[in-house]
Amino acid sequence: MPVTTIGTTHVHVDAEGFLTDYDEWDEQLGAELAARIGIQMTEAHWTAIRFLRTDYPEQGETATLRRVSTLADIPIKELFALFPKKPAKKMAYIAGLPKPRGCV
């Protein structure tokens, strides 16, 4: 598993740069990951990311767009505005979680 340096932290990532170890993440790292994909974190961004972080250990997988929208009460439209183009993938990347799998 490749190791990369983000800011001053060494973290394990997969081939696409998604963190592979849940516990290597903190919010400072999240903000730096966001900056790498051109996102400046605001409180609205954090509401979504914190939901993803809390949901993941309970569910064992990354929340889908619809799950974030329903359970964190953020309209999908707003998620597209906060994390443009590919919100589910970008949220997972910033939250240090695996890319959400399309349920086959």
Binding site: I76, F80, K89, G102, C103, V104
Partner: protein, 417 residues
């Protein structure tokens, strides 16, 4: 007096019928009552929906009474479920009736919900907007296709997961072949719009199926998450404000589990029951299982999954009621024939951990079915399956396919997409 226990199965579709029939043979009738609840007595062969719009079946060929698919000794109650009351081990019906249970199996599947996308159920519904996952929808679409004289046909998926996830691709392939056969392919623009980043979820299959779209000049609109349909402009509008106009829209509406699952506090955000993915036991309960499309398993919502899962579930259930640990572990095994048009089909075979790979099935090297490549044998396999479904699968007779996926006969391509 002998103590009677009741296994209550909600839903008499593929999963519920196989569960009831298999367990009827294994549970002593003097001690176990098996009751199936469904809202109607119509069992539909759902894989047939795909062929209806192309005149491949008559609607009445796909329908039989549920009651006749259930073994003697299985009781069928017709009624609408209002809610499950887990604390009381009872199910309340909408007509006021109550059914107590010792063990509950939720097998109420998943349903297309056109009401969940603004503009879908407007005046264009069944005029220029169609679904094909219902008998009515597929029949209506057959007529619309016959009358279609050219223009832009958009095949569209609202969101995943959906029942039979390859069906919209198959529809696109069959439509393309159909227009070619009718000599009007040059008058039809075909678009495949999906919320996925490619044609399918898993990389190797997505690349193969994606290139099949390209070969057929079906353009792929990926990462398209629909927000609403502007029915006056006949346009799909996405959350990121992309627009796709259509003359004929064949959509797969949002799929959701039954509403009573949500009312009972047993569902996730799409009304699917969270279960242990290896035992199918509902999380937080010791006597409630969910099988088939109703469960939140991270695999395909497909009849093959229901069938393979029930194989594992049956033995587990017998251990569970005897107070023993459930040692069987369902692996998410799914296989699906994928119609390619022109009398050809692909077969894909996969599970939680292994994506669809090329190879042969079920016998390594011999097949007769080829994995992830089109062949006529695969197509005939799909056609023959309808007989197997009614006469072997639903009655719960052994089918010589292992429940667990095997790597034998599969090979990993050296270069990935």
């Amino acid at each position: 007096m002998v103590e009677m226990r009741r296994l209550l199965v909600l839903g008499g579709g593929t999963a519920g019928t196989i569960v009831a029939n298999k367990l009827r043979r294994r549970l002593d009738r003097r001690h176990w009552q098996i009751t199936v609840v469904d809202q109607d007595d119509v069992h539909v062969y759902q894989p047939g929906f795909l062929f209806l719009p192309f005149g491949g079946h008559r609607p009445e060929e796909l329908v039989k009474p549920r009651r006749r698919q259930l073994a003697a000794g299985v009781e069928l109650v017709l009624g609408e479920v209002d809610r499950v009351e887990p604390a009381a081990n009872a199910v309340a019906l909408a007509d006021g009736g109550r059914l107590a249970y010792d063990y509950l199996v939720i097998a109420t599947g998943t349903t297309p919900r056109p009401d969940q996308t603004p503009g879908m159920l407007g005046p264009e519904w069944r005029t220029s907007i169609f679904d094909f996952y219902t008998l009515d929808g597929a029949v209506a679409l057959a007529q619309a296709l016959r009358e279609f004289d050219g223009g832009r046909l958009v095949v569209h998926v609202v969101d995943t997961p959906i029942k039979c996830p390859v069906a919209p691709l198959e529809f696109a392939f069959l439509a393309e072949a159909c227009f070619r056969a009718r000599g009007m392919r040059d008058r039809v623009e075909l678009v495949y719009a999906t919320p996925l980043p490619g044609a399918f979820t898993k990389p190797i299959a997505s690349a193969e199926l994606g290139s099949m779209l390209e070969e057929r000049k079906i353009s792929l609109e990926a990462d398209f998450v629909v927000e609403r349909i502007d029915d006056e402009a006949k346009t799909l509008v996405s959350y990121d404000e992309r627009e796709i106009g259509f003359d004929l829209l064949v959509t797969v509406p949002l799929n959701m589990g039954a509403d009573f699952v949500a009312r009972s506090g047993l569902g996730d955000e799409l009304n699917y029951v969270p279960v242990d993915k290896h035992t199918l036991l509902a999380k937080g309960y010791e006597n409630i299982f969910a099988i088939g499309d109703a469960a939140n398993l991270p695999t395909s919502k497909a009849g093959s999954v229901a069938h393979f899962a029930v194989e594992v579930f049956t033995e587990n259930f017998l251990a569970h009621i005897a107070g023993k640990p459930m040692t069987g572990r369902f692996d998410g095994h799914a296989n699906c024939f994928v119609e390619a048009g022109d009398g050809q089909a692909l077969l894909i075979d996969f599970n939680y951990d292994t994506e669809p790979l090329p190879g042969a099935y079920p016998l390594p090297g011999l097949g007769p079915f080829g994995l992830l490549r089109p062949s006529a044998v695969n197509h005939w396999g799909k056609v023959a399956f309808r007989w197997l479904y009614w006469h072997a699968l639903l009655p719960g007779h052994p089918i010589p396919l292992p429940a667990h996926m095997t790597m034998a006969g599969k090979h990993q391509p050296t270069t990935k997409e």
